[in-house]
């Protein structure tokens, strides 16, 4: 159990560092963005980053669930606002909304992985919770890496 928490913590750190690197790269080239591209990039970026942060935080600290949900939504809203504030006020609103929604969805996925009877999944799942948590965490990290790669490739344009 301790090893699982350590793994989840390291995964959270890796995701945050990747998000910060993309932020720095986008801040350098923010003068080149058109109005439409600013909206699309802030949508995709805040969605993927806040989803991973919500999922990993809920899996890491699953004891106090309601406090975790409130704090992840606030964190998601702040991160989305920071990302959207790179460009214009329109993208600030879009980033705020999508960051909030993605943080809520990430906590929802984490809640179902921890307690499968919430969604009426078969009772076989209660035997393999840790396996499911690790598989989903690896997949989400890979998906975030691919998304950030696409974003970095599009910042050159």
């Amino acid at each position: 159990m301790l090893l699982l928490k350590l793994y989840l913590f390291l995964s959270l750190i890796v995701n945050c560092v990747m998000g910060y690197l993309v932020f720095v790269k986008g801040r350098k080239s923010r003068k080149l963005f058109s109005d439409r591209f600013a909206i699309i990039s802030s949508t995709l970026y805040s969605t993927s980053l806040c989803f991973t942060i919500g999922l990993h935080l809920f899996l890491l600290l699953q004891d106090k669930s309601s406090a975790i949900i409130i704090s992840t939504v606030i964190i998601g809203a702040i991160i989305g606002t920071c990302i959207g504030a790179l460009e214009t006020f329109k993208s600030l609103l879009i980033g705020y909304f999508h960051g909030m929604t993605a943080a809520l969805m990430g906590t929802m996925l984490g809640a179902i992985l921890v307690d499968p009877s919430l969604c009426r999944l078969p009772s076989l799942y209660s035997l393999q919770i840790e396996q499911n948590i690790i598989g989903m965490s690896v997949f989400i990290t890979l998906l975030t890496t691919v998304t950030f790669g696409l974003l970095l490739a599009s910042f050159r344009v």
């Binding site: 591209f37 995709l44 179902i112 499968p116 009426r120 998304t147 344009v157």
Partner: protein, 139 residues
């Protein structure tokens, strides 16, 4: 009996998506970026939703695997339909397919093998493809 119906449903969805892709491929020069963005959002989202719901009805013991599969389906189809127009519509379709693909097995397992819900999802897919067809014709 039921497994048979589910398999044919999935096959029919992919056939419809392929036909829609071939239809849009002819008219892709005539469609502006605003309609292209909406097309990539609708097709990526609705395909991921229907794939996740149908697969979780059929194999209720593989939640994580089905989440991965439906997310990859949504990402691929959203990117393919968005890639018809330009890079920004590709990014839009990618993001929306990813979001709905991650959510859809949860909806399917919470519906608890309810048959009218499956019919509703299929009707949603048919209606959205019909609307899409009509809007491409009008533009």
């Amino acid at each position: 009996m039921k497994i048979n119906i589910l398999g044919w449903m999935l096959y029919g969805n992919f056939l419809l998506t392929t036909l829609m892709y071939l239809y849009l491929f002819q008219y892709r020069k005539l469609i502006g970026f605003q309609l292209g963005m909406n097309i990539s959002i609708i097709v990526g989202g609705i395909t991921a939703l229907s794939t996740g719901v149908v697969l979780i009805y059929q194999y209720p013991f593989h939640f994580v695997l089905i989440t991965i599969l439906s997310t990859l389906t949504g990402v691929t189809i959203g990117s393919l339909f968005g890639g018809l127009f330009d890079y920004q519509t590709l990014l839009t379709g990618y993001g929306n397919g990813m979001m709905l693909g991650l959510m859809s097995p949860m909806i399917g397992s919470a519906a608890n093998n309810n048959f009218p819900f499956l019919i509703f999802i299929e009707m949603l897919l048919m209606v959205s493809y019909l609307l899409l067809f009509l809007s491409v014709r009008r533009s």
